[in-house]
């Protein structure tokens, strides 16, 4: 995979840090992922783009082991996780922020933040997360779902930063949010990149995707159909528009 022209190239290791090979997934009898393959280098921010129903969320959920019927290989460093339970996958250092944000209504903001167990050292402290998202500190005693959409998204991202997981799967973190909040989330993702996190980001908004990511994988009909390096996105606008149906 060419990485020349990418400003982060020197700091990225050459070996794939995370590799998905021939991932297949089914909901009941309906076969929705077909030989999905891609890889991510350590410290990279990579997006999965694609129109509604392309299989982006299913890809993240399959990586997390949350789809019962799945097949194929998922490797983090040297560790094969293709058949592991979702608990084991979390314990291996992959953290997931779901599309619906997954905020618990029966937990307070603070309990939501503290829920995911620490799986490795080096996670952010609660104080650091509160610096990143000051609203969460102010509203720590509120019921989780009483937060605004933007605050819930911050909580959903914030709580997986505590765990020490270094690979973050974020499913449409900007969906339905006001432009200022989208900017704040963009700034957060850039900060995470600076801190060396590896991020797999699902996005529909490719302007946003272009502003944060090193590379883009395009999905359609449950397959990865293209890979576009970040700097080349401007030259590929026409192609992208057809993929995304916009």
């Amino acid at each position: 995979m060419p990485i020349s022209g990418c400003p982060m190239a020197d700091r990225l290791s050459q070996n794939p840090h995370f590799q998905v090979t021939d991932l297949e997934a089914w909901y009941g009898e309906s076969h929705v992922l077909h030989r999905v393959s891609f890889d991510i280098r350590e410290g990279e921010v990579v997006t999965l783009l694609g129109r509604n129903g392309a299989g982006k969320s299913t890809t993240l959920k399959s990586i997390m082991g949350m789809i019962k019927r799945r097949q194929g290989s998922v490797r983090l460093r040297e560790k094969e996780l293709g058949r592991a339970s979702s608990r084991a996958i979390a314990r291996a250092g992959i953290a997931f922020c779901p599309e619906d944000r997954g905020i618990y209504s029966s937990l307070t903001v603070e309990e939501n933040l503290m829920l995911p167990p620490v799986v490795a050292s080096g996670g952010m402290s609660v104080a650091e997360i509160h610096t990143l998202f000051p609203n969460l500190a102010e509203r720590r005693r509120s019921q989780g779902t009483r937060l605004s959409g933007g605050e819930q998204q911050m909580l959903a991202i914030g709580r997986i930063l505590r765990t020490g997981a270094r690979l973050l799967l974020l499913d449409e973190p900007t969906e339905g949010l006001a432009p200022v909040i989208v900017q704040q989330i963009g700034a957060t993702i850039r900060q995470l990149k600076e801190r060396g996190y590896t991020v797999l980001l699902v996005e529909q908004n490719f302007h946003f995707a272009a502003s944060v990511a090193d590379r883009h994988y395009v999905m359609d009909h449950g397959q990865v159909v293209d890979m576009i390096p970040g700097p080349e996105i401007a030259d590929n606008m026409a192609k992208l528009s057809t993929y995304l149906g916009v």
């Binding site: 997390m64 082991g65 949350m66 339970s85 979702s86 608990r87 996958i89 979390a90 314990r91 953290a95 997931f96 779901p98 997954g102 618990y104 209504s105 029966s106 937990l107 309990e111 503290m114 829920l115 995911p116 167990p117 799986v119 997986i160 765990t163």
Partner: protein, 294 residues
């Protein structure tokens, strides 16, 4: 002294009896609510575990001379362990099936357990001698309060309160609430949800066992004792709202009281009043008094 033409002594005695029934309703419906919340199973074997608690106390006394206080600890623990084993070996197999299967399976389990005890011990009641510390009582001026009954109420309040605190205020409790609300996501955070489920079932039936030990000295111990009681407890759970922890506790005590008071004013209705309330609640608030309305 008369209140609404009723002697105060009669009224307060019935209120006390009502509170005692309420104490049992509260512990039992609390266990059912916790189990239902996480397992989505209405544990129809609950009455059988309650009965086993009472027999456990009796057998421990007869065979090992274990006193009541130790039995209050050992018997629920043993029943809780048995519950964990049952969850692992039996209940776990049906989580992917319709909820109805859980009901049928636990109902069947309850029948088998009760049947085994009936074969062994017959259907007549066996006495459990009152521990010395619970004999006697206190004269409150307007009524006599037997120590054994006061203890049942105190023990029930304490157990319910501690359970509520653990679920609502501790980290373990937050895991339990999380696993109840979104099991898959909770598992994907690395929390051991299957283990939580096992422990929850164990704890829920341990509560039933605890109630059974409490019941041994004041009710007659017989294999059917749980089956009779549990029907009322199911009505309590329906009234309180399935899955609401504080709702189960409050409704338990409240309905015990309502029953007691009804016994004073209209004795014939006292055994049906809870079911009448259940019917009304189902019509007005189908999710129960404390349940989340859909």
């Amino acid at each position: 002294m008369l209140i609404f033409g009723i002697p105060l002594q009669l009224l307060s005695t019935q209120i006390l009896l009502g509170l005692i029934n309420g104490a049992f309703y509260a512990i039992l419906s609390l266990g059912l609510a916790i189990i239902f919340g996480l397992l989505n199973i209405v544990n129809f074997a609950h009455g059988a575990f309650y009965m086993m608690g009472a027999f456990g106390a009796l057998l421990m006394l007869d065979h090992f001379a274990m006193n009541y206080w130790l039995a209050l600890l050992v018997v629920p623990l043993t029943i809780g362990l048995l519950g964990c084993v049952i969850e692992r070996l039996i209940l776990r197999r049906i989580y992917d099936l319709d909820h109805l299967y859980g009901m049928i399976l636990t109902f069947g389990m309850g029948l088998v357990i009760v049947g085994l005890f009936r074969n062994q011990y017959g259907a007549t009641g066996l006495p459990y001698s009152m521990p010395a510390a619970l004999q006697g009582g206190y004269n409150l001026g307007f009524m006599f309060l037997p120590a054994s009954r006061a203890f049942v109420i105190l023990a029930s309040v304490a157990v319910c309160l501690v359970t509520w605190l653990v679920i609502e205020k501790t980290r373990l409790g937050s895991w339990l609430r999380a696993a109840t609300e979104k099991p898959e996501l909770t598992e994907a955070f690395g929390i051991n949800v299957p283990l939580l489920i096992t422990l929850t079932y164990g704890f829920g039936v341990a509560l039933a066992g605890f109630a059974g030990v409490l019941a041994a000295p004041i009710y007659s111990v017989n294999p059917m004792m749980g089956s009779d009681l549990i029907i009322v407890v199911f009505a309590v759970v329906v009234i309180g709202g399935m899955g609401s922890i504080s709702g189960a506790i409050l409704t338990g005590f409240m309905l015990g009281l309502v029953e007691g008071v009804t016994k004073v004013f209209w004795p014939q209705a006292s055994t049906t009043v809870i079911f009448v309330i259940m019917a009304i609640v189902l019509l007005i608030r189908p999710a129960g008094l404390f349940g989340k309305q859909a």
